[in-house]
Symmetry: C2
Subunit: 242 residues, 2 copies
DNA sequence: CGCTATTTTGAACACCGTCAATCGCAGTGG
DNA sequence: CCACTGCGATTGACGGTGTTCAAAATAGCG
């Protein structure tokens, strides 16, 4: 059934708050298994109500919503350590879908045990609320980005945010990291057309702010990129892991 | 110090989940007072860390973020029953500001008691997480709206959502309701210019889908408006009140 | 060597932003 | 009573950012 939480590959990253041995023990009870899925596979569907909720262990995915006419809005990326299915857990209803972009490994929890978590582990419950509030924070920022920035600023903002997150996850290697999404994915996240996204990425490349090609992102100078993206906020401190 | 929770003017609305007498009692302990503020007054500031968190009892307000160059993104409206300061409560940091648009009455809670809530009232803690997840749901929807809809669809969407919410709060009167915001507020919420917002509102008015003037919104047929706004989702069931 | 998915490029057009002026209204003070 | 002021709503003209349509490279894959 995969690794025990005490040997969790990502728990030790400095990005995540340390856990007491008591908490680790509870998590080992809460965890019911591991799931490996293939690129393109759906994880949760909008409107659905699955008995299982997850934490991403490895790989990358997408959260998105579909409009009836087929337009797609990518809400956020799913990266290791991200909790998947909070809405299903507390509201019995997903309002967006989640799918794997690369192959992924997921830590599986039993939704019906969530109430038990609130009853017996108030600190873990607090952490869960922290994660929800953090998601709200991110979406607020994204909303401000879509609403107020032009395409060039917007893509610089997005790539800078992604870079910082991958950096905190120690998934960068020098000035390069793997970013296995398609331009269409980023376009749908930014509310831009594919064509315009492509041309604007070319400008960022020409400016040597961010070079994204063949699934690899290279950022020569993250601070310059952040400046281009008007990234004022977000020191990105440590956070809980569920 | 204002009304006791047992006499709370909004708790009885069908929009809100019923509370056990035990919960009401806890809330009366949790509540430390009431606050009345004037139009335009700030409630919470981005970056701030106040000792107090609130629930709106009456009046209307705005959540917003400012970019360094003065551009403003309105995140959401604040209406009666809305919880204010969840981020400050769990993350010690507001990432947006909140201000009153009309005069407002707020129910005041002591932030330091929040941990006590998690420890002794798991159901209330669950409700708080529910509210956070709901906020995430709304912001995801808003993101999809800004990213995918054109100005006409977008404003129809926004006015329809507002109408449905006010309807659930029993603040509508026939086909009319009070909506005391400026066009600039809605423009900043939609990421549109004031001029274009004005012209698009004129089109909605000409189409007799939504007539908004002098602080009054009239919606002859909410379902037609929702259709114009591509509102597929959101039955808007009952929710907890903190 | 086709086949498909993705990226790239070009051209025409439209939605929306900016600039600028006007109008209505409420408040203020001469 | 009537300028004067300020705020918000409204309208017109013009230009630019971003969309749509279309086609051509490019790359992986059976």
């Amino acid at each position: 059934m995969g690794v025990k939480c005490r040997n969790c590959p990502i728990r030790k990253l400095p990005l995540f708050d340390p856990m007491t041995s008591d908490e680790v023990e509870f998590m080992e009870h809460f965890k019911v298994g591991e799931l490996s899925i293939s690129p393109g596979a759906p994880i949760l569907s909008e409107g659905g109500n699955t008995p299982q909720i997850y934490t991403a262990l490895s790989g990358m995915g997408l959260r998105y919503k579909l409009l009836e006419d087929g337009r797609r809005q990518v809400i956020s990326l799913v990266l290791p350590g991200d909790f998947i299915g909070l809405q299903a857990g507390v509201m019995n209803q997903m309002t967006h879908s989640v799918e794997a972009t690369t192959s992924m490994r997921l830590c599986v929890f039993d939704r019906s045990e969530l109430w038990n978590l609130f009853r017996t582990q108030p600190e873990r419950a607090f952490d869960l609320t922290w994660l929800a509030a953090n998601e709200e924070r991110f979406l607020g920022e994204a909303l401000a980005a879509l609403g107020q920035r032009d395409a060039y600023e917007l893509l610089a903002w997005a790539l800078a945010r992604i870079w910082r997150k991958l950096e905190a996850l120690q998934m960068t290697n020098g000035d390069t990291t793997s970013l296995p999404y398609r331009q269409q994915d980023l376009a749908d996240a930014m509310g831009l057309s594919l064509v315009h996204t492509n041309k604007t990425l070319a400008k960022l490349r020409a400016a040597r702010l961010a070079i994204w090609a063949d699934g690899k992102l290279t950022v020569p100078d993250i601070e310059e990129l952040e400046e281009a993206g008007l990234c004022r906020d977000t020191p990105l401190g440590s956070r809980p892991l569920i």
